[in-house]
Symmetry: C2
Subunit: 247 residues, 2 copies
């Protein structure tokens, strides 16, 4: 299944503005303005200027929160997004409610305390983001993330992403039962996405610091239905349901 | 969501021939002919006469196996179906390959040895069958069973059924993660079924004999999305997306 572009010209538009350049622009914009996000529970908030707002929208980070202030926009980032902007792109400082800037280690510790699976989820998120995929939450489709080839305004999401880890005793994860696998694949087929399972494998070392991220390995696996009729030798020309005849 | 009948007249047809009567007819037919099913791995096979075949089709038990014998029909039953016919309806004897008739206790032991979750699955299956629901495998939709109000030729399946038990350490079951729940509900919505979760709760006693089935309790739970717009006071008349105004 290839990308499903939204309307004519979208493909060309995406090619003319690669996501890598859009991310670079965002990075410069946030660094120049010395942006500071405020950590709050399981999200990070940023009051954005018009320029920042445009850059965030184009790179598809965060979501706008509706406030009563008409001329200012507040953005809310999920923890993976915020940590990616802060730790990976180094373009966003994150402060607590007392305006103290948090170090990488402090942030890491905070996020791991909020979400037990943060190391694996962030590894998966950044694994796709560094390859210039746009990564958004997947709860609408019952998966962890959805991945877009470019901005969601131009293209439909291509992959439904599930994060699976090998943590000891982590039996509460997805796809361990056939019924779950069937359910997930059937849904992915129905919404024209490919199921991408990211196995995030740790090396058994401690996870006290974000440098431990380098020790994770990510194994990618796409899962799809095998349809006999579509996988025959003569498929390209015939699409028949009869047995193929020998000539 | 109510039943979705297939075409005009189906509802009347179903009302004229209640499933309870169809099951009674099947029962008589199988008892009269002293039917014997042959156990084979995870299924039970029955060579059916034309009359039996009609009765099985109408009651929706088993599936026809294609064989080279044109004038004879072989039926294959899943273990729940076979045990229901044998133990609950008492209309099918089941024999092994040496033609020895198996007792209820022997059958129970055999089936539990083949499928670890057989007690819970059979309890769920029979819970619906005794209420005259037609119960078929649900793997196509990533669930354990689907339930029809009447024969699948007359009506679409109404419930997608998941069996959940409280067995110690049974962490490999469905719906423990939000993503799984979202996935399942989204799929059920897409195929116009209601998710029915049957919690089969044991009383902690041994399961060496089928009489232990009486000690299980079944708690039914349907799960569906809550859509604010459809749950407002004024819903029945307005279906508006605006805030309701006070009059």
């Amino acid at each position: 299944m290839g990308p499903r572009w939204k309307g004519k010209g979208s493909k060309a538009k995406a090619a003319a503005e690669p996501m890598s350049e859009i991310i670079s622009t965002l990075k410069s914009s946030l660094i120049t303005s010395n942006s500071k996000g405020i950590i709050s529970g399981c999200s990070v908030l940023l009051e954005a200027t018009l320029e920042q707002s445009t850059a965030l929208n184009r790179a598809c980070f965060g979501r706008v929160i509706v406030t009563s202030e008409k001329d200012r926009q507040w953005y809310e980032f999920g923890l993976e997004e915020a940590f990616y902007l802060s730790y990976t792109l180094k373009c966003l400082e994150i402060v607590d409610h007392d305006s103290n800037v948090k170090t990488d280690a402090e942030l890491w510790h905070y996020m791991c305390s909020k979400i037990k699976t943060f190391p694996e989820f962030f590894k998966a998120y950044s694994h796709l983001r560094v390859k210039n995929w746009v990564v958004r939450p997947g709860s609408q489709y019952g998966v962890d993330f959805v991945a877009y080839r470019h901005h969601p305004a131009l293209v439909h999401s291509e992959y439904a992403v599930l994060v699976v880890s090998d943590k000891d005793g982590n039996s509460r994860e997805r796809l361990r039962l056939w019924s779950d696998l069937h359910c997930t694949i059937r849904l992915c087929g129905g919404v024209a996405k490919t199921l991408l399972v990211l196995h995030v494998l740790g090396k058994g070392s401690e996870t006290d610091s974000p440098t431990s991220l380098d020790e994770y390995e990510v194994i990618e696996q796409t899962i799809s239905r095998w349809i006999p009729e579509q996988n025959r030798e003569q498929n390209a020309t015939t699409k028949t349901r009869d047995f193929p005849t020998t000539s």
